[in-house]
Point group: C2
Chain length 188, copies 2
């Protein structure tokens, strides 16, 4: 018994590949080589690529939501919370990756149905969290508008990380995030 280490190695590699190259940009062979296991053995842990994808997304979502809970504990101010939210993306960019679900959002048309649902759920969590925090600031604001503002924040950050990586210029992300925060602070 190796304490499931191989399983987690596979999961880690699959996640990295998905964040760097997209769902259609890697294969079992890539993982096999990097983890040091035979291709067929990957099927012992994940019977299909789709099931592997689901496992990766669920873990990612769980960890991400954990970060959001931590932010709520560490910060009481809504703007500081959103600021820390944007900071969650920084290490991802610095490792030349995209947000897992941002990348898969681009791939959405090619994904197995079961994966699509998981990705949408991830973003529903994000919108909910952002809405709850924006509500602390914007009094008497409709749920619809809270959702719109949340989506705007998410879209801007996802686009920014994509453009920053493509241009090999991390400042594109940093500046966009900063602008976002400034505008939120000014608004009411």
């Amino acid at each position: 018994m190796q304490l499931l280490s191989k399983k987690f190695e596979i999961l880690d590699l699959a996640q990295e590949m998905m964040q760097k190259r997209g769902y259609n940009g890697f294969s079992y062979a890539d993982i096999s080589e990097a983890v040091g296991i035979r291709k067929a053995s990957i099927h012992h842990y994940f019977p299909s690529k789709a099931s592997m994808g689901v496992a990766v997304i669920r873990r990612y979502r769980k960890i991400f939501n954990g970060h959001l809970e931590n932010i709520d504990k560490e910060e009481k101010n809504w703007l500081n919370r959103v600021n820390k939210y944007t900071k969650l993306y920084e290490p991802v960019l610095l490792e030349n990756k995209l947000c897992l679900c941002g990348m898969l959002a681009a791939d959405i048309e090619t994904l197995p149905k079961i994966l699509k649902k998981e990705i949408r759920d991830f973003f529903v969590d994000n919108v909910d969290w952002l809405s709850n925090n924006l509500k602390l600031h914007y009094k008497n604001i409709s749920k619809k508008r809270l959702s719109e503002l949340s989506w705007k924040i998410i879209a801007s950050l996802q686009g920014a990380i994509m453009m920053a990586r493509m241009s090999d210029n991390v400042d594109i992300f940093f500046f966009t995030a900063k602008e976002l925060l400034i505008q939120l602070e000014k608004s009411n």
Copy 2:
């Protein structure tokens, strides 16, 4: 002689596939079937997939820059111009596609080198155009800041179209674009 119609049919299909499914999400077989030509015959027009990709991007860029020129002719007000810029993305979203170069930006790590350069050039054109128009409004502003503001606009729109398509909710794009315009109008 068929006036190159097959070549353009291939180009059209390849572009649609790239915008809907990404560079790794389609194959010669897909195009072959849709255009009604044998797989091998595609190589008559495009010796490699990379060369096909380059042709698609160059044409897309040329047409897109044509739209930007038209906007400059039709509108003299900087804000109206940027507004029309955001409108360029609407038909793309309504056809369930992404901006070609936005999609390829996500795929960037898996692309042949020659494609990467073409994509970056597309966005350089976009930043230049936006910078020139923002300059009409923001007096005494540095080139660097013009570039930052332009990248912010591009990133927000690219992210918005991606999130809108994934969520099957076009309003995510419409609202983000509208907010962008409102903020530009207010700023100085």
